[in-house]
């Protein structure tokens, strides 16, 4: 545990020792802010219309009409920015030879992998944390429900975890950061768009394909529903990614 934390700490520091950590947080909150603004304006317009045309009642539901869409778009932003977090994790250590230090230290492979995973997850959590400033603004000007928002954030964290474990695995395959980054991005893209094929095929294929799609499972979270089915999917996805990483590191050892 202490070893794992030491490595996670080192990983997290290394993000902030270089500009990458700041760029990630800045870029992510900028994009998030843009979508936030767009959705807020759209919502504003819609709710005004609803008031004019006599919806009256409780007014428009900000959770359903704005936050859900915002979260879904955030999922897409994550897909684009995550490869930048994970591409260097293993590749850089292999290229610079520091992997020799880690692998000859009295730490297990699992501790190294989990350390790297949680280090990256911590950066990602920091990115999400910054976006909560926008949410706080929303609470100031309106009265959304907090539970669906919390569910959405949980979903984002889990989905991000899947991307991170996949990215970690791909990074462990190559010495070249660019290759790792690009492959990771391509893989994420596939996991996202895989359900597009499903739309025009038989119900069985569609069911299988949409089960595979990472973003498909996020939909309920975005709506504010925590379904154990989806949570379980993400957790097993993360475990599988970390398992593959462990196998990759181990086989690298044997091959030399």
């Amino acid at each position: 545990m202490r070893n794992m934390l030491a490595i996670a700490d080192k990983e997290l520091r290394s993000y902030f020792a270089s500009p990458i950590g700041y760029i990630m947080i800045g870029l992510f909150s900028l994009l998030f802010g843009w979508f936030f603004y767009v959705y807020l304006m759209a919502f504003n317009q819609q709710s005004q219309q609803m008031m004019q045309f006599g919806g009256g009642g409780g007014g428009a539901n900000i959770n359903q009409m704005m936050i859900r869409g915002l979260f879904q778009n955030t999922a897409v932003i994550i897909l684009f920015v995550m490869p930048m977090i994970t591409m260097r994790t293993y590749s850089e250590e292999k290229r610079s030879g520091t992997i020799e230090l880690l692998l000859t230290s009295p730490v297990t492979d699992l501790q190294i992998i989990l350390g790297k995973f949680f280090g990256a997850l911590a950066l990602y959590a920091a990115m999400l944390l910054v976006t909560m400033i926008y949410m706080a603004m929303l609470f100031k000007i309106s009265n959304p429900e907090w539970r669906p928002i919390a569910a959405g954030y949980l979903g984002l964290l889990l989905m991000g975890g899947c991307f991170l474990s996949t990215g970690l695995f791909i990074s462990s395959l190559t010495k070249n950061q660019i290759v790792a980054g690009f492959l990771t991005f391509a893989t994420f893209l596939m996991l996202w768009i895989v359900n597009w094929i499903g739309e025009s095929s038989s119900p069985t294929t569609r069911a299988v394909v949409s089960y595979l799609s990472i973003t498909e499972h996020f939909d309920d979270f975005a709506r504010g529903i925590i379904d154990t089915k989806h949570a379980l999917y993400y957790l097993s996805f993360i475990t599988f990614g970390l398992f593959l990483t462990a196998k990759s590191v181990d086989s690298e050892r044997w091959r030399g």
Binding site: R2, N3, A6, I7, K10, R13, S14, A17, S18, S96, G97, T98, I99, E100, L101, L102, L103, T104, S105, P106, V107, T108, R253, W254, R255, G256
Partner: protein, 369 residues
Amino acid sequence: MMDGTEQGVIEVQHISKNYGRVTAVDDVSFRVERGEILGFLGPNGAGKTTTMRILTGYMPPTEGRAVVAGFDVFDKPLEAKRRTGYLPETPPLYPDMTVREYLDFVGKIKGVPPRERKARVQTVMERTRVADMADRHCSKLSKGYRQRVGLAQALIHNPEVLILDEPTAGLDPKQIIETRDLIRGLAGDHTIVLSTHILPEVAQTCQRVVIINKGRVVAVDTPDNLTARLKGAATMYVQVDAGGADAAAALAAIPGVKRVASADGRAPQPGDASFASGNERASEPADPDRQNAGQPATLPSHASSEMSRLSPAAFEVESEPDVDVRRELARAVVNRGWGLLELRPVRMSLEDVFLQVTTEEHPEEAPRA
């Protein structure tokens, strides 16, 4: 630990390592006693790094076993690693960390208790003389400092065993001497295996040498014993101010002299020898053996017609073992009225042993010509 006291601290038993079809290490066995410095010598690509990586638990061998500090590196990797410090070929530094942060991190993952860590970091920084760079980022360090921080990193948990892969590579002469002194100072408390392809380094630092070539151990002995194999070849470097066949013939006529060879082709000017060798060995003291090694085999007197034009002339005189021909050489020159400009022994070095054992098919049987 129990059996660690009876066995060598490091036991390597018949290890082999294949990369696909390529055999990098082939049935290598050796042992290192407590407190000893073992030199691991071989040309590039001989399998030194692979062997060291197996010893440090970085990779498992295809066959055989290695025991470090009483623990099998494959069955009990964590125990063995806890007792091993390793400096890889390129010091494994994180460019974004300062030296202090880096050593602290290494201390953490090597299991140095938190209470002792700060003091330990300070101790190793002082020991390896990097304390003045403690708050400098590793990316900003010069090659010499990187190497020393790498060494500091290997020492941080005060390991029983130190495995150093070319610890002096890329250092300047002063740093090389300092590093060697440091390594020698560490012996006793630590058992050290160091690899190098620089021969004088082995002679100066190691108590025992394993010469490895193409993945196989070709010789294991002390540096002295290895050089003693070359006792058959005592060679003198002689420079006289009268060149030519006369001089060569006169020298060859002295009893006990086996052979006289011209040393003029690349007359060793003390001082420029180091320029001639150019590479990292430039840092070694001017080393006449190098010229010797590059010299075309001995040219008996028939080559001397060419020498006659040259004045002064230099020769390498090879004598019978155990015969000191210096007195006779000097007399022969002076009696003929020539000036004796230089007379010194050309010591056969480990380099010759090395070239011999790594180029011959059966090094053990081959008598020294």
